[in-house]
């Protein structure tokens, strides 16, 4: 089988080399299309345009904004302004000239509106047919608008800063004065409190002195009174003592008389003999006080009267009991200038804008050929390889050479492998040549590792060859393989992002694109060439492309009997 593969492979190359149309389609046609697309659509990728566009301008404002717009657009190398008297003339200007994609009208009062803080709008009239050119100019207009707004903002910022500084100075002065008042008031408060303390102290001293005098005088009066009372008492006592002594004496005598009576009566009774029992008892004498009592009564009275001592009087005045000093609180001015004014000069809100940066480097400008060389390269690779494989198979069937080769001992598998592998190599070489031409003529970026571009290139060449087999199975005739193959290849290229960025497409189309090898291949190329990602970034997309290619190959193998029936 290897022999068959080798000879069919070589034969395919011989056929290919003899086919001038195929050579044209392989190399010259893609280079021409790439050049045309790259130069004409470069503006889509921000490439500087080499063409001068004329912009009709109607200036009803004649203010600073209008002047800035005119000045700004006049300084753009690719633009030239053409002053027009009115809108109608501007629109007809745009309609009749292909280098005028839009007209600009600056309404009256634009500057006034802008300067008074209102929204100022400049009207731009776009020719839909020249949408892409207009978009490029709109970008420039957008930049200019941002510049004008930024300039005005800077001026406003300066004025605001000056006013803020003045206000800050005034406030600082007010704060200083306020602080002086606060300081004076605090001093007054301190003085007042000192006076109050001295007053309290003096009052306390005087109170204590007066209390002492008062005590002493009272004490003397008491002592005098007590002395008098003592003397008087002593006299009374002496008299009482004398009376008691007389009583005591009497009582002593009475007691002796009792005892003598009792002795008498006892003698009486003896004398009464038998009748003694009849004699009534004498009345009973009360028992005299005991001798001790009597002794007590007779003891001289000893009465002493103590002179009371007046305790030291505490002054009834306490300074702390003085009513609070009703000093009004010092005014607390909370004039915090730092709070009244921000630490720095207040700033106007900044502009919200954007600045392009490449994922991989500082330059956001993309060489349009970085998209179109691989994009159209893949397109032509698909066309050439799909046509090459499918037309080749169908031609061989129609010529009879396929049967002849089979009758000569060539295996069908060997012939298939030979054909597919030769077209794979042709497609691979085609892409390599296109990259080389793109690099040499159009300065395309080959990424960090140009050799890594070979991986997705090999994958897409394989997928294209396998897809050619599928197309041959579907179409089965030369007449149908050309249009169907072309439509399939171009649809696959377009949807897969070969002609424009995938992001331009609606979601449903992007979902379909995931099943197309072109999508993954372009992802790999864009990653390597435009985004400047690491060489390893191409591995997964290339694997996906190979996977889809293998799927195509299986479908082609299953359907290949349809080609030869």
């Amino acid at each position: 089988m290897l022999r068959t593969v080798a000879f069919v492979f070589r034969n395919e190359f011989r056929l290919f080399v003899r086919d001038r149309a195929a050579l044209f389609m392989l190399f010259l046609a893609p280079i021409v299309i790439i050049a045309v697309a790259g130069f004409s659509l470069g503006a889509m990728y921000g490439a500087p345009s080499r063409r001068v566009y004329v912009i009709p301008l109607v200036n009803h404002d004649h203010g600073a904004i209008a002047a800035a717009i005119v000045r700004g657009l006049s300084h753009r190398g690719a633009l030239r302004l053409s002053e027009q008297p009115d809108l109608d003339s501007s629109l007809s200007f745009v309609a009749r000239r292909d280098d005028a994609p839009m007209a600009i009208v600056i309404p009256a009062g634009t500057t006034a509106a802008f300067e008074s803080g209102k929204t100022a709008l400049v009207r731009v009239y776009i020719d839909p047919v020249k949408r892409i050119q207009a978009s490029a100019i709109e970008l420039q207009l957008s930049r200019l608008s941002r510049q004008i707004a930024a300039t005005a903002r800077r001026r406003a910022q300066k004025a605001l800063a000056k006013r803020t500084a003045d206000l800050r100075a005034q406030l600082d002065r007010i704060v200083a004065r306020t602080r002086a008042i606060q300081s004076e008031f605090a001093e007054f408060e301190r003085t007042l409190k000192g006076s109050r303390a001295e007053l309290a102290s003096a009052m306390a001293r005087r109170m204590r002195a007066r209390m002492k005098t008062l005590r002493e005088s009272v004490q003397a009066a008491i002592e005098r009174s007590a002395s008098a009372q003592k003397a008087q008492l002593r006299g009374e006592l002496a008299r009482k003592q004398a009376a008691v002594a007389a009583v005591v004496t009497y009582l002593g005598q009475l007691q002796s008389s009792k005892r003598e009576f009792e002795r008498w009566f006892a003698s009486l009774k003896t004398m009464a003999g038998s009748h003694a029992s009849e004699i009534p008892p004498p009345p009973r004498f009360p028992a005299p006080p005991s001798d001790r009592v009597l002794a007590e009564l007779s003891r001289p009275l000893s009465v002493s009267i103590h002179t009371p001592t007046i305790p030291a009087l505490k002054p009834v005045f306490d300074a702390s009991e003085l009513p609070p000093l009703a000093v009004p609180a010092a005014p607390r001015f909370s004039l915090d200038v730092g709070r009244l004014l921000p630490a720095e000069t207040p700033v106007l809100p900044g502009q919200f804008g954007w600045r392009e940066r490449s994922l991989a480097g500082p330059s956001a400008t993309v060489n349009s050929f970085d998209q179109y060389v691989p994009g159209f390269g893949v397109t032509f690779l698909l066309l050439d390889v799909v046509w090459g494989v499918s037309v080749g198979l169908i031609d061989e069937r129609d010529w009879g050479t396929l049967e002849r080769l089979r009758a000569s001992g060539a295996s069908l598998v060997g012939m298939m492998v030979g054909k597919l592998s030769s077209r794979f190599v042709v497609g691979f070489i085609q892409m390599v040549v296109l990259f080389a031409v793109g690099w040499a003529l159009f300065g395309v970026e080959l990424g960090r590792s140009p050799a890594m571009l070979l991986l997705p290139t090999a994958a897409i060449a394989f997928a294209a060859a396998a897809f050619g087999l599928v197309i041959a199975c579907i179409t089965q005739t030369r007449d149908s393989v050309l249009p169907i193959g072309a439509v399939a290849a171009m649809s696959m290229s377009a949807i897969g992002g070969c002609w424009w960025p995938l992001g331009f497409e609606p979601q449903w189309m992007r979902a379909i694109a995931q099943w197309m090898p072109t999508t993954w291949t372009m992802q790999a190329y864009n990653d390597l060439m435009i985004r400047g990602l690491a060489p390893s970034s191409a591995v997964v997309p290339a694997a996906a492309t190979l996977g889809l290619g293998t799927l195509f190959l299986l479908i082609g193998i299953v359907g290949s009997p349809r080609i030869y029936k």
Binding site: R3, N11, L15, R18, G400, E403, A407, S408
Partner: protein, 333 residues
């Protein structure tokens, strides 16, 4: 030795061989859908023999050759070529075969030499062998001076010759030729037939499919008449013609309508006198020696003969007789 036999399928008589040849076909059947293309086809070809496969368009000649060339499978029957069973050893058979398809199966953009070289190499020849064989094949078909010209620039006859050369470049034991002279000029046709004869002389077994009976008569040892997928008759040309029981015919064109009964002794029969051309007469003869006698009778009867033609019975007549159908609409120039 060939034997005259009754073809059991068709009921006709022909020469068939015992299955001992280099090509043995027994009970071959093939249909495309409901259309029966081959029905119980059996024949045998000996080594070195040139056998013509003759039949009208759609008779099954190309299908038969395609099956022998291992390009199509048969529904029934067995085929052995060079001792190999076709079903079991198609690869081995391909090495023995040279196949020249009816279409000009060449790469138009490649040169004559490149086409030859490809088929030589695919057939297993080494580079040096291929070089020698290609040169020899080009010499044989007289295209050496155009060896490096793209096929697309060659004339139709040259392409046919190159088509033949590509089938024989590796010197096959068995050569299958499917109408190799269709649409070629007489000169190229002669060269093609000459080449085939040379190959046969060199020992190749040739199965030659055609609907040109004169080619069969000229180069074939035997002929197999096929119609609607069935073998109608087989044998040498003479045997097949004889089998059909055909006689020579003479067609005479008079200046004006000849007198009635001008032919005193009707030789066999006045076959036809066309209505619009009543001055033309066709007669069947017993043999060719009667031509002179007929012409003399015509002159004697006063008829002025403008022209006459004598037609010996051939395979086309035999085919017509055997099948009731014409072999083809027009004979080659």
């Amino acid at each position: 030795m060939p034997q005259l036999c009754l073809n059991p399928a068709s009921g006709n008589i022909g020469t068939v061989l015992a299955p001992q040849g280099i090509v043995d076909v027994v009970g071959l059947a093939k249909s495309y859908g409901s259309r029966l293309v081959l029905h119980d086809l059996s024949f045998s070809v000996r080594a070195g023999e040139v056998v013509g496969l003759l039949g009208p368009n759609g008779a099954g000649k190309t299908t038969t050759l395609s099956i022998l060339a291992t390009l199509r499978g048969a529904d029934a029957g067995t085929v052995r070529i060079a001792g190999f069973d076709l079903r079991a050893r198609p690869g081995a058979i391909r090495r023995k075969l040279g196949f020249v398809p009816q279409a000009i199966a060449l790469y138009p953009s490649l040169s004559a030499y490149q086409n030859l070289d490809l088929f030589a190499r695919v057939q297993g020849l080494s580079a040096s062998e291929a070089r020698r064989s290609c040169a020899a094949a080009l010499e044989e078909v007289e295209l050496s001076d155009r060896a490096n010209d793209p096929v697309a620039t060659l004339s139709g006859g040259m392409k046919r010759r190159l088509n033949l050369a590509c089938g024989v470049v590796h010197r096959p034991e068995v050569l299958l030729l499917d109408e190799p002279t269709v649409g070629v000029d007489p000169q190229s046709r002669e060269k093609i037939l000459k080449t085939i004869r040379a190959l046969a002389r060199a020992g190749a077994t040739v199965i030659y499919s055609t609907h040109y009976m004169d080619e069969v008569e000229r180069i074939c040892d035997r002929v197999l008449l096929i119609d609607r997928g069935r073998l109608v008759a087989a044998g040498t040309v003479a045997e097949v013609v004889a089998l059909a029981g055909e006689h020579p015919r003479i067609e005479i064109t008079f200046e004006r309508e000849p007198p009635p009964n001008w032919c005193a002794r009707p030789l066999l029969s006045v076959n036809s006198v066309a209505g619009a051309e009543r001055n033309k007469v066709e007669l069947k003869l017993d043999n060719l020696s009667q031509v002179r006698e007929v012409l003399e009778q015509a002159r004697a009867a006063g008829g002025r003969v403008l022209e006459f033609s004598v037609h010996s019975p051939n395979l086309s007549d035999a085919f017509m007789t055997l099948t009731g159908r014409a072999l083809r609409d027009a004979e080659p120039a």
